[in-house]
Symmetry: C2
Subunit: 342 residues, 2 copies
DNA sequence: TATCTTTGCTTAATCGTTTAAACAAATATA
DNA sequence: TATATTTGTTTAAACGATTAAGCAAAGATA
């Protein structure tokens, strides 16, 4: 069963009594090799079950045809879909991707970057962990001279390409919607302020309130790690207020789900007593009862654009990156949790 | 900004006026290199920001220190957690993993296998796509002489290691539980019969009914692709029966969620009119209302064991695999959807 | 003092593929 | 017929790291 000694280009050469170089060229369809030889080479390659050795060609050419992808976690619909689309675009051009997850840990993210650089990837497409504030390791990627594309969670200071939705504006859309529904005391369970996207959502929330002449109540603006558990906790905190909110905008669907549970347990009527809006449009948001209004982040487009951006750099001989933001509009998917019957 | 020309072992050698071989040995802490030289080498390596070229060492040693992981999808809690644990174990031994998803497509899975073999991975840990019946590509892995470990979704015919839970017995545990709750007409929305794990769940269901002297009603045994959508459809189908079931055991949590939605929409009381049990213990199962009873698949253990099994082979010089099943017990997590108040 | 060991390094081959350069043979051009 | 061009191939170096083998110098042993 164990057939070690994989067949190499040399084995094919020996069978046909030609040089290894000729075989290599034949397999790459070089114009200087006769059709006859090419056919023979292909036939023998097939017979011997030849599989090219990626390590050797990558070493020689200096291109590994591998692209590293760093995401905080894969078990989120957004990231999983984004990865899928990145893969689709890159596979077409002969690239394969190495997916790594940071689990929102800075330490793990650093390890992942090292592992990817060590594997000699031709580029990295990344969405940063919540914890990441020190950009030293990302600078390492740039120092390695390979393109770095960020999406969803990026940092201006890195001065590289970024693809994401307009978080600031998304908050406006959400607040507009809630005001339209008649809500006047809108709370925000936001993500960590230090993470850019969450900061933008918070700023958008504050500015949108201002726009509608609604007062900003510090009690109603809460920072959270956006897990289900913390969503529960923060919702309980809001319910304990003397003056409860009449709407809660949660910066993540998981936390929104936690909030939903608490509201149901306390038999608060949704959306009439408190309207609820999440962010990210995870599949379960459409599936729970009541379904949760949420923001779709265009994972489809983001993945494609990130991959295409990488490919553009890959074609160029010299890489000269700069802060280049591609901001997509977001879609508010209005569902039962915020749509009041008139 | 762009520092191409990565520093190599040779650059270090030049600086110190020693040979590249000496540098290599110094970096590997060879006993035949003086402490003085070692220190100097490490210092220069650091100064020049030396990063070893994985491709070169992998080519030379024949070991890439990469392990391929194939899963149907990453946005499932089970697979995501398994991957995480595989990674944890392998990282410790200096291995990195390449995650690929088949999206339940046979074609994609084949492409992934080719890509992994091409990348010269030292082994593959895989869970097969639903669609996969042709094992030709998996045989290719074996032919390449690298270890193949399967988990969750495997095939006896492959004759390789398999780690999974006892699906057959899980069905027994579920049926026992439902009978205990007083259910007599237990339906099963199962996965595809051709997939081994789902087939085992179906067989377990049938045998468990027999054990309890319950008749097997063909109307109550339905095949499904286990998506939310299909879960809805199949539940509607069951509700349309003249003689409705009083319990439904769904072979996947997503489909169970779809079923739950339909039950709620039709205002069927859960669990009193119809009790519901899912499979896989996805996070949302605990989070929806009512929470769904489900089976925990020990993603933690499965990932660890799969990785450890690979490591064992990696240590051996010759690989001789055979059908070697490690079957773990499953845990039934009883929740509101099936627990009747007495 | 002569021989053996150990230490610390160098040389050179190697992994499998790619590719610039060389070259012989066939064909075209003047 | 002599020269230039094209065709189809070979030779050899290279990618960067590893490692068996070799070797000189220093130290140990008899």
């Amino acid at each position: 069963m164990v057939k070690k000694n994989k067949t190499t280009i040399k084995d094919i050469a020996n069978v046909l009594n030609i040089s290894a170089a000729a075989v290599s060229k034949a397999l790459h369809n070089d114009s200087r090799i006769s059709e006859k030889t090419k056919k023979a080479v292909r036939q023998v390659a097939k017979n011997l079950n030849y599989q090219p050795n990626h390590l050797a060609s990558a070493l020689r050419s200096g291109k590994s045809k591998l692209v590293g992808v760093i995401v905080p976690k894969t078990n989120s619909n957004f990231f999983s879909a984004t990865i899928h689309n990145i893969e689709e675009v890159l596979n077409e051009e002969g690239y394969n991707i190495i997916i790594t997850q940071s689990n929102e840990s800075f330490e793990k993210e650093c390890k992942n970057i090292d592992a990817l650089l060590y594997t000699q990837v031709d580029g990295i497409i990344a969405s940063m962990a919540n914890e990441t504030v020190n950009l030293e390791f990302y600078e390492k990627i740039k120092a390695a001279g390979i393109p770095l594309i960020t999406f969803d969670r990026g940092e201006n200071d890195l001065n590289v390409d970024y693809i994401g939705i307009d978080d600031y504006n998304s908050s406006h859309i959400i607040v507009n919607h809630l005001v339209e529904q008649g809500c006047q005391r809108i709370a925000h369970i936001g993500g960590f302020k230090r993470t850019r996207i969450f900061n933008n959502r918070i700023r958008g929330y504050i500015d949108a309130l201002k726009k509608h002449n609604l007062p900003l109540d510090e009690e109603l603006l809460i920072e959270s790690d956006l897990t289900v558990k913390d969503g529960r906790k923060k919702m309980e905190q809001l319910l304990a207020l003397d003056n409860r909110p009449d709407a809660v905008y949660v910066a993540g669907d998981y936390a929104a789900l936690g909030a939903l549970q608490v509201l149901q347990e306390k038999e608060v009527k949704i959306p009439d007593e408190i309207a609820l809006v999440g962010f990210g449009d995870e599949p379960f948001s459409a599936m729970v009862t009541p379904s949760i209004t949420s923001v779709n982040q265009h994972s489809y487009k983001i993945g494609r654009i990130a991959a295409e951006t990488f490919l553009e750099y890959a074609k160029k001989p010299k890489i000269e990156q700069s802060l280049n933001k591609i901001i997509l509009d977001s879609d508010l998917i209005i569902r039962a949790s915020s749509l009041k019957k008139k």
